[in-house]
């Protein structure tokens, strides 16, 4: 902003930025040699690839919707209510954000062997090597992040709006539905998009819970792993291209909605 930066200082700032940009451009461009029209067409007609795309889209959408169903009330409760143990709860919900997904996935598997896990199994819920397992893994990784984001969104909305709504005649629930929720709309949509992107990209927890069964539980990231294991570079490149396009679309949509950055 300030003019009169001398050239050496400006260079010391801009050079690292330029090197980083060059590095990421190299990463994005390095796949080009492996890509051509005919392999692209061939891959895009492969049924296992289409299965992976379909599974990723469906599971990420379900997992994110389920996460928001919990995160909207939970985020609002953390933003507005005071109750004993709130700080402890807050820390507990930070943990899954910091813990590696591989560990989270393993913990899901182990939890299946507890009484509540066995009860769910008796109801017909099977997670290992199933689509339900993919969804459970993505939900677990994404839900704490969703609570964080929505808490921040609700905190940005001045409580004055709700107070004024109350004095105009709304109950607490009414002021939430009529005022807070509409005002948080952009934040909720942005959280959905970013959590969905995180779910689409989820690998560690998904692999641990549901494995990488081709055509069954192989999501897009798992399919890259499988393709590279089989040294099938052209398939890997097509999968990466799809994920890059999804990522750009996500960034574009988040800016359009005007939510906070990832």
């Amino acid at each position: 902003m300030t003019p009169h930066h001398n050239r050496a200082f400006r260079l010391a700032l801009v050079l690292p930025l330029g090197l980083l940009a060059g590095y990421f451009l190299l990463l994005l461009g390095g796949q080009a040699p492996y890509l051509n029209g005919s392999t692209l067409r061939a891959e895009l007609s492969s049924s296992t690839l289409l299965d992976a795309i379909r599974l990723s889209l469906v599971s990420a959408t379900i997992a994110t919707l389920a996460a928001l169903a919990f995160a909207v009330p939970a985020g609002y409760a953390l933003a507005r209510l005071n109750f004993p143990g709130k700080r402890l709860l807050d820390t507990l919900l930070d943990l899954p954000v910091v813990l590696t997904p591989v560990a989270l996935g393993t913990l899901i598997l182990m939890a299946l062997n507890t009484p509540p896990g066995r009860f769910l199994h008796s109801l017909g819920l099977t997670l290992p090597f199933t689509v339900a397992g993919v969804i459970a893994a993505q939900f677990t990784v994404v839900v704490a992040m969703a609570v964080r984001m929505l808490k921040a969104s609700f905190e940005e909305i001045s409580p004055r709006y709700e107070q004024v709504a109350r004095l105009l005649g709304c109950s607490a629930g009414g002021s939430f539905l009529r005022v807070t929720l509409p005002l948080a709309r952009r934040g909720i949509i942005a959280s959905f998009i970013l959590c969905w992107a995180r779910a689409i990209g989820e690998f560690g927890a998904t692999v641990m819970v549901a494995g990488t069964a081709r055509g069954q539980t192989a999501t897009l990231p798992s399919s890259i792993y499988l393709a590279m294991s089989a040294a099938d570079l052209s398939r890997a490149v097509v999968l990466i291209l799809i994920l890059i396009l999804i990522s750009f679309a996500v960034l574009f949509l988040v800016r359009l909605v005007g939510g906070r950055r990832p």
Partner: protein, 375 residues
């Protein structure tokens, strides 16, 4: 109609109260205090947005502790107005009618009445409230608050972001709402000029305590204690001792100045007191004019040591001869020009005995707190 009894509020480190306050139906009470005095917190407790630590709030004689804010029939204009940004101007104004499921025809009539009263014909058709000017936003928020026929209207520094001309118009509207619609108003402000201009009773809140309650003149000329005096910018405050009680009931005070004062307080000889007088009440005696009877008591020879211009008036700082005391006084510009005064000039000044206020220093007990009770 609304009454706080021994109300105490704890909010973080801040402690407010105990506050006893009663606002009769139809009155206009201004709650005046510096920022941080707890004015907003007191409003919130009266509205049910904040749970008091102790004490009671009564509305029309009924205890309110169990009543949520939506059952108190109080309208609220917060400082930031909190117009709903996702609703049009009309939907904002009608919000209260819809959530209370009031009769739509009656609400339309009320809307028309408020639109006419508050000159909202133009703004009413706007979809996006962010296109309104500051003054229009104020009037829309006022219409929204008044639509459900509230008994009470609470205003929290509604004019702090507006320029002086628009503020004046809105102040006149508020007096009109109070008189014509019969709405009882509690108006919070830190602006002393605004508090005096609104013309009703004034309650002074400083450091979480209600320090004084009275009419504009009582508050302006007779501060209840030294913190009120300092907040109300009294520049001339002296620490003196009661030396003699005169036969006519007045007192002779001695110290850095020897003064006669006509305070109604019954203070024994020897009491240390704080004495003060407003800048405008200090009289500069024109050299060519005779000294009036009421100016003879506290007549001093003095020298001008500093002069400050303030646009419409000048403030002179004068040093009393044969005393360490300095006194400030204000002169309207026309008088200042006529007299042609400069620094170093010798003048005579008089402190009218009936214009002096007298307080025991460290007057712990706020005055006038109970003087404004109902009935």
């Amino acid at each position: 109609m609304i009454r706080a009894e021994q109300l105490r509020i704890a909010c973080g480190d801040f402690r407010l109260g105990p506050v006893d306050l009663s606002i009769p139906a139809g009155s206009y009470l201004t709650l005046l205090g510096p920022s941080g005095a707890g004015k907003t917190i007191l409003l919130e407790a009266l509205m049910g947005l904040l749970k008091p630590a102790a004490g009671r709030v009564l509305l029309n004689g009924e205890e309110m502790a169990a009543q949520p804010p939506e059952r108190r029939n109080i309208a609220y204009l917060p400082q930031d107005l909190a117009l709903f940004p996702h609703l049009s101007v009309q939907d904002n104004i009608l919000f209260g009618s819809r959530v209370r499921r009031l009769d739509p025809a009656a609400s339309r009539d009320r809307l028309a009445e408020l639109v006419a009263m508050l000159d909202l014909e133009g703004p009413l058709t706007r979809r996006d409230i962010s296109t309104l000017s500051g003054g229009e936003k104020q009037r829309v928020a006022l219409a929204r608050a008044l639509l459900p026929n509230p008994q009470l209207l609470f205003l929290d520094e509604p004019h702090s972001a507006l320029d002086a001309g628009i503020t004046r118009q809105l102040q006149i509207k508020l007096r009109q709402i109070n008189r014509e619609l019969g709405v009882t108003i509690l108006h919070v402000t830190h602006d002393q000029e605004e508090a005096f201009m609104l013309g009703g009773q004034i309650a002074v809140l400083i450091d979480g305590r209600l320090q004084q309650l009275g009419s504009s003149d009582e508050i302006y000329y007779g501060p209840a204690n030294l913190s009120v005096a300092r907040f109300l910018r009294h520049q001339n405050i002296f620490s003196l001792t009661v030396a003699e009680r005169l036969p006519d009931g007045r007192m002779r005070l001695r110290g850095e100045l020897d003064l006669v004062c006509a305070s109604g307080r019954d203070l024994p000889v020897g009491t240390r007191v704080a004495v003060g007088i407003r800048n405008e009440e200090v009289t500069l005696i024109r050299p060519d004019r005779p000294v009036g009877d009421d100016l003879r008591d506290n007549l001093f020879a003095a020298v001008i040591v500093d002069i400050f211009g303030f646009g419409g008036y000048h403030t002179l700082v004068v040093k009393i001869r044969e005393s360490p005391a300095t006194i400030e006084l204000n002169l309207p510009n026309c008088a200042f020009r006529d007299l042609g005064l400069g620094t170093g000039d010798k003048v005579r000044i008089s402190l009218r005995a009936r214009s002096l206020w007298v307080l025991p220093p460290d007057d712990g007990e706020p005055r006038g707190q109970h003087s404004y009770m109902e009935g």
